[in-house]
């Protein structure tokens, strides 16, 4: 009889523990964590060691409640210096869209990139520059306030 009571208590406690562990506010556990490799099992090249990263998204800070804050950049190494090519940015509306107020340059293929007057040796630095540029453009769109040396 005592054995049955002990077994019953153990089952109830186990049930409570299982229930609590399932209702904890934690994200679902990933089913796998892997080091990405190509099918040939060659190591993935770190972004900073590539010559081009592919599109990257940044949502700019906006103090004026602008709805469109989405910027997309492709970082590319050209002649040893990183460039941030602008794949997408919000509409400038009726603001002056020329090179000087927006700090943009265009390459031979007419692709726009951020104008920066010094060599940028690290991808991380170029990413930081593009963040600041996007925040300034967002302010420029909202208020017309120009930024940087002209």
């Amino acid at each position: 009889m005592t054995g049955w009571i002990v077994a019953g208590v153990v089952m109830v406690v186990a049930g409570i523990l299982i229930y609590c562990s399932r209702t904890k506010e934690t994200p679902a556990r990933p089913v796998e964590t892997t080091q990405r490799t190509t099918p040939q099992q060659t190591r993935v090249v770190p972004l900073s060691q590539k010559n081009e990263t592919g599109p990257m998204v940044y949502y700019a800070n906006d103090r004026h409640g602008g709805k469109d804050r989405e910027y997309r950049f492709n970082y590319k190494k050209v002649n040893g210096s990183w460039r941030a090519y602008i794949l997408r940015m919000p509409s400038l509306g009726n603001r002056d869209a020329r090179s000087i107020p927006t700090h943009r340059l265009w390459d031979d293929s007419n692709n726009a990139y951020i104008c920066w007057d010094k060599t940028v040796n690290s991808l991380k630095d170029m990413q930081n520059i593009s963040r600041v540029w996007a925040d300034c453009i967002q302010e420029y769109i909202a208020t017309g306030k120009r930024f940087g040396p002209e």
């Binding site: 990933p30 972004l47 900073s48 949502y59 991808l123 991380k124 593009s130």
Partner: protein, 99 residues
């Protein structure tokens, strides 16, 4: 996917911490919005240096005209990369309009 779209700040913080190992964390059986061509897909998260990548199974489309362009691009390419974790979080939360 709904669990990420509606994830709390605390849950996102746990996700961010888990990605510090720089491995690809794959979540299977993520429920997609109703307008998607598949109900369930795998979604992967990975920190790449100081940026974040979001993966999804290829071959999925979305017929919702209100779907953000970035969401459709993500489905088409299978990958979208963000400069910061907060950008990835903002993107996922922007998908509430699909549920």
């Amino acid at each position: 996917m709904k669990e990420f779209v509606y994830g709390s700040d605390q849950q996102y913080e746990l996700l961010k911490e888990s990605l510090e190992d720089h491995l690809c964390h794959v979540y299977s059986r993520c429920y997609l919005p109703g307008a998607c061509s598949k109900n369930i897909a795998r979604i992967g998260f990975e920190k790449e240096e100081n940026t974040y990548a979001l993966f999804i199974d290829k071959g999925i489309s979305c017929s919702n005209n209100q779907a953000p362009a970035l969401f459709k691009d993500w489905l088409a390419i299978g990958t979208v990369r963000f400069l910061d974790f907060t950008d990835m979080k903002e993107f996922l939360r922007s998908l509430k309009c699909l549920y």
